[in-house]
Subunit: 396 residues, 2 copies
């Protein structure tokens, strides 16, 4: 007699998973080299060598009880302080360790942020296209996720659509920059405009509207550009982060929420997060992982391959006549499908052993998400296969 709500979720078919399973089956049939899997966003570069060295040093020099002992429910002070210092140095913030809450990846960070500043029945707004897991993340709290239609020209924000969607029931707005799936990075102008709208609406509605900023791709930016830091633009910001992508440690599940010191209730927010943990069964990340990551919180893996791959795929897509916005970061690109039903495009592509994800679950149909966590030589061959497919099927 399993809880029916969760049992029903089993019936939801994940298109991404189905595609991944088909790709895996094909790899078994014809070999890894002949399958061009642009479906999975799984960091493909080795972790930062400084991380490995830090961990080995810890095992060599620290006593076991020091390395593996309980950390407080709000995390190790040394880790929290290192994150605060790093953010202050890089983005001109003034966090103290009391504003940093270590979490089990960005997933854990978001779980705390939503619960802290919304209540069941509230409305959370996000912008299409968006990471599909935001839906269970928000709905699991009892709040409701509403989706603002996209700005398809640049994947910034359609502010007219945003203002239409805002209403007094909205207590949080969720952004993800640079964005999965579009690869777009919100500009300073976009963040400035967003802050102005939110400030005005806070006054109009007479309550706070928190900006929850999900930034796991913050360090994967292209053309030498740095992602403007959203909390710098708006006081009521909770910044959610994971080291999965920057340090290439996706399985280690270490991240944090950073509370803007000027946010409402900033001083009690981290203790509130600790209370939330008690009700959802969250534990802060592995002690040894906190101790290693605190030493390398400014470092990244060599992330240059993502930009190399993005450029070659972007150029090919443009050349083939796709309608596509050049990504500012991440390891995703989001061209418009060559036929209205992106599922149909993806299905046909599979016949060429090309795996791409149709965009329906990202809150807007008709597009394709392509990930490029691939060796560059393999990505090049994938692009050649794409050319062949598009030529033979769509006559381009």
């Amino acid at each position: 007699m399993v809880n029916q709500k969760y049992k029903e979720m089993l019936g939801e078919k994940s298109v991404i998973r189905q595609i991944a399973e088909t790709a895996t089956a094909r790899r078994a049939q014809i070999g890894t080299d002949e399958v061009f899997d642009f479906s999975i966003g799984n960091p493909s570069v080795p972790c930062a060598p400084e991380f490995t060295q830090a961990m080995i040093d810890l095992y060599e020099t620290r006593e076991p009880h020091e390395l593996h002992g309980y950390s407080p429910s709000v995390g190790l002070p040394s880790f929290r302080g290192a994150v605060a210092d790093s953010l202050n140095r890089r983005f001109g913030m003034d966090y103290t360790l009391n504003h940093i809450f270590p979490t089990s990846g960005a997933t854990g960070a978001l779980a705390h942020a939503f619960r802290a500043v919304t209540k069941p029945g509230d409305e959370v707004l996000t912008f299409a296209p968006f990471f599909p897991e935001y839906m269970p993340y928000v709905e699991g709290t009892g709040a409701h996720l509403s989706v603002v239609p996209p700005d398809t020209k640049a994947f910034q924000i359609d502010f007219e659509a945003f203002e239409r969607a805002l209403n007094p029931n909205v207590t949080a707005v969720l952004i993800n920059t640079p964005n999965n799936p579009s690869g777009a990075s919100y500009s300073a102008a976009t963040l400035e405009h967003l802050a102005q709208v939110l400030l005005a609406k806070q006054v109009e509605y007479g309550h706070d509207i928190f900006l929850i900023s999900d930034e796991p791709y913050r360090e994967i930016m292209f053309d030498g550009v740095t992602q403007p830091y959203p909390a710098k633009f708006y006081d009521n910001t909770l910044t959610c982060y994971s080291f999965s992508k920057s340090l290439s440690l996706p399985g280690e599940r270490i991240g944090y929420v950073a509370v803007n010191p000027r946010a409402t209730d900033a001083d009690i927010m981290v203790p509130v997060f600790a209370q939330i943990s008690r009700t959802i069964g969250h534990n802060c990340p592995s002690s040894s992982m906190q101790l290693a990551v605190e030493q390398v919180s400014d470092k990244t893996s060599d992330l240059s391959i993502y930009e190399t791959n993005m450029n070659l795929i972007y150029d090919a897509l443009v050349d083939l006549g796709f309608d596509v916005v050049r990504p500012g970061g991440t390891f995703y690109i989001f061209p418009k499908s060559l036929e209205p039903d992106a599922n149909e495009f993806a299905r046909k592509a599979m016949e060429y052993d090309l795996f791409v994800v149709p965009s329906d679950s990202f809150g807007m149909p008709g597009y394709l998400r392509m990930s490029y966590c691939l060796e560059t030589e393999h990505a090049k061959r994938g692009v050649e296969r794409l050319r062949k497919f598009v030529h033979e099927v769509y006559g381009r």
Copy 2:
């Protein structure tokens, strides 16, 4: 504008925390050696050396992407298989990897177990004395935790009280053996009787009643006795575990739920857990930690110090005329207070730099929880201080 529900939880004063803070302040004043802190249950022995060696080997031999890559949301198959094999070997079970769900410690395990087999409004029964965190763990799901009065003679189960408490709204029963705070280990006879009652009530009520068995202290058992394995006695059992105590890795937060293969819906339980994770922001434990622990899942740290300490404290308590049940395991002992208000006893003990926890938050007043995660020499001196305190204040 923080969520009021969680903000109100901040106001709840944790007696354990207040005592710990006082002890910490005293240590700063008079030095660690003169403070006898029996309040904190924090594993004090080094982790199993086989674990350390396994982790160092992994860092030396595995590629970073293999060591730190994403594990599936239901965990690494190798870890799940190793846990299943270990439980089968040790307890005569027949788990497959499909019945094992890796979690962030026992906290994460319980968060999934409750949600999988109860729904909001249901009643969960547990037995006094109980770990106080069970209250937010259960209430956080929307179900209600009811407490069955204790069997104070042996801290087994008062079956008359249990039968009075059972009602058709009960869908889960939560046990913890060996028990925090009493140290009692449920005997085979207790577990047999418990299973008989539950089986009869399932028929009477026409619905499943799941046994959720929280077993983080399973390997800390005394007098050469092994904890009888609860799932062996009752099909509808979800076993929740953490390696925190057995391997002495409390900060690493790695545990699991094991689903009895004969439980209702056993085959979909782990996929259901994965759905629950999506709604509460749970990530399965660190990949590298899974890879290391799977190699040592049958090992333990040298846990003998807990038995040594228990014996010397138990003997002293008996000698001083305390009413006390001899623990079967854990690193706790639970004597009756020498005056009706255990808080008053604990307050007076603090004046002797003796720190013990009054039992009110464990669901029964008038007792004291003493932890003995201490160096044995320090525990001996603590016992002498206890003798002095009891002699001077209570004339014994």
